[in-house]
């Protein structure tokens, strides 16, 4: 295989360009993050992270990103299901619109969601009648993260739904299973890896998201301050070591998350494969 491929030209050039760009743009910068944090020593790192405001920011970021990803799991599945399975007017249009949160600059999403959910906004007014404030609370952060994360779940589930073998479903129905039983026993298992992937992508994006959140968050320390904002705040105070350590910690957390979910996914695949 490799013998046959080696007749093609340009290996050295293309690999050189790729490695150079990755080193200059990604590896060296991220290395700077690690060495700058290491300069502080374990004690310094611990001191920065154990700060109450930092812990609170991590708590806010985690809980809102988790809640948003969980809601997106259900809403994304419903949207993908309807787009793949049911007749719908202007389906093509709806399907291309799914990617809007990827294409819309986050600052625009931020200001428009804030305006909609502010206490006097189109939707915020309606929530206010029930005594619920959305904008400038963690609930508002969750709304922004739902907007940002929805396409991740829809786009990972959609292709799997399209490829599902209809015969198994028909067999299950003709053997007397109810719609719900068919859904739970036949349809859901193959979807689980895709759902987990969509969930983890939405969750990871939610942890790092900045532009769409800062307008709607209210940014009150201890209450509605997210980790990325705290990093920016530390930078603006010229507290570079503080910003660096928090950034490194959130990066490590995000990678551990992705690793865990990757492992989980392989495990589900194996399990459903065996059954």
């Amino acid at each position: 295989m490799s013998q046959r491929q080696s007749m093609l030209p340009g290996f050295g050039l293309s690999l050189g360009v790729t490695v150079l760009a990755i080193s200059l743009l990604v590896m060296i910068p991220l290395l700077a993050l690690v060495t700058r944090s290491a300069e502080l020593g374990l004690g310094g790192i611990w001191q920065t992270l154990a700060d109450r405001r930092v812990m609170a920011a991590f708590r806010v970021s985690f809980s809102t990103a988790f809640a948003a990803a969980l809601l997106n799991l259900f809403m994304g599945l419903v949207v993908a299901w309807v787009l793949v399975r049911y007749p719908l007017p202007c389906k093509r249009l709806w399907d291309s619109l799914i990617d809007l949160p990827f294409a819309l600059p986050t600052a625009v999403a931020g200001i428009v969601l804030t305006t909609l959910y502010a206490p006097n906004g189109w939707l915020g007014r309606w929530f206010a009648e029930f005594g619920l404030q959305v904008a400038f609370t963690p609930l508002g952060i969750t709304i922004a993260l739902i907007f940002i994360g929805l396409p991740f779940v829809v786009r990972t589930v959609e292709p799997i739904l399209q490829d599902l073998d209809r015969q198994q479903e028909e067999a299950s129905t003709s053997l007397g299973a109810s719609r719900w039983q068919t859904f739970r026993r036949v349809l859901l298992p193959p979807l689980v890896p895709a759902l987990l992937t969509g969930f983890s992508l939405a969750f990871a994006r939610g942890l790092g998201e900045y532009g769409s959140v800062i307008f709607i968050a209210g940014n009150m320390p201890m209450k509605s301050e997210i980790v990325p904002l705290l990093i920016v705040t530390k930078l603006e105070q010229y507290n570079y070591p503080g910003a660096t350590v928090i950034a490194l910690a959130s990066l490590v957390v995000a990678f551990v998350m992705l690793l865990v979910v990757n492992g989980l996914q392989q495990w589900t695949r194996k399990r459903t494969g065996r059954e």
Binding site: M1, Q5, M7, L8, P9, G10, F11, S14, L15, V17, T18, V19, A21, V26, I28, P29, L30, L33, M75, V78, V79, W81, V82, Y86, L88, W94, S96, L97, D99, P101, F102, A103, L104, P105, T106, A107, V108, A109, I111, V112, L113, T115, L116, W122, F147, P159, Q162, G208, Y210, G211, F215, V227, I231, V232, L235, Y240, A243, A247, L251, A254
Partner: protein, 291 residues
């Protein structure tokens, strides 16, 4: 291969679940439309409504304002530098990863995707650590009259970082699926590397390439977090369009902020339309290719 063909040739008008319980079907459809309406349509409508709240004249004033024009120019310049560079990077990365076997190949693929899982704020921060006033090389660049942070180079670097994966990740799976046979044939028949690229490789990847370029461009023009950290928000100097939206909004000039936001929302819509057209063309190509 199998899956792609089955997606492409899926019979569109026949709805297999049309026989299922009607209330489930209508209920779920209504729920899905409500979700899409609430989270996708309503924000778009609201951007327009807020932008024209004070009338056409105010809208025109806001988008032809001196600072807005400068922000537009800076956004265009940034995209004009970053998109071609990342396009070249994407082609190079896809060529070596999809066409050759070498140790560390999967690691390289992972590294290319890395910028997607890094918070944009961190993407900006790392360049401050290197080129900022307290950074590794910051002092040297500044004293030699070439400031990076709070200047165009910093904005370009941060944008390059966040848009790095777009072209590569479209091209790698595409070129892997296509295989190397045609390119090998052209080389065996004596074509030069250059000729092979222009007559075989490029025509076969052009739609995937365009797809990646469009997404890369949308992100380059719309990036907020990473650019915000390195730009310094100097009006008329280092202010890109998304940053200008933020400044106007924070100054309570809501209509003006939304007026500028319509430009970016328009960019997003154009991106989605082009993306759909390319997807549609690709699907047709698959259908024509499969008997």
């Amino acid at each position: 291969m199998n899956t792609t063909i089955s997606i492409a040739s899926r019979p569109a008008p026949r709805h297999p679940d049309a026989g299922s319980v009607p209330w489930v079907r209508y209920g779920l459809s209504a729920l899905a439309l409500a979700i899409l309406g609430l989270f996708l349509i309503l924000p778009l409508v609201a951007v327009l409504a807020e932008a024209f709240r004070e009338g056409w004249q105010a809208y025109l004033d806001a988008i032809t304002d001196r600072y807005t024009r400068h922000a537009m120019l800076l956004t265009l310049i940034t995209a004009l530098i970053c998109v071609p560079l990342n396009t070249l990077f994407g082609i190079a990365a896809a060529w070596c990863i999809a066409r050759f076997q070498f140790p560390g190949r999967s690691l390289l693929t992972t590294l290319i995707d890395l910028p997607f899982s890094v918070s944009p704020v961190i993407a900006g921060l790392v360049f401050i650590l290197i080129f900022g006033s307290q950074g590794w090389f910051g002092g040297w660049f500044t004293t030699h009259g070439f400031p990076v942070i709070f200047a165009l180079p910093g904005i370009v670097l941060a944008t390059l970082f966040v848009t790095l994966p777009f072209v590569a990740r479209e091209l790698i799976p595409l070129m892997q699926a296509q295989g190397a046979e045609q390119e090998e044939a052209s080389i065996m028949l004596g074509a030069s590397a250059w000729r092979m690229f222009w007559t075989i490789t490029l025509p076969r990847i052009k739609w995937g390439l365009l797809y990646g370029v469009i997404l890369c461009n949308a992100r380059a023009m719309g990036e907020f977090g990473a650019v915000s950290v390195v730009s310094g928000h100097i009006r008329g100097a280092t202010n890109t369009l998304p940053l200008h939206v933020e400044i106007l909004y924070n100054e309570y000039q809501f209509s003006a902020a939304f007026a500028v936001a319509t430009l970016l929302a328009g960019l997003a819509i154009v991106t989605l339309v082009l993306k759909s057209i390319i997807e549609w063309r690709q699907q047709r190509q698959w259908e024509n290719a499969s008997p």
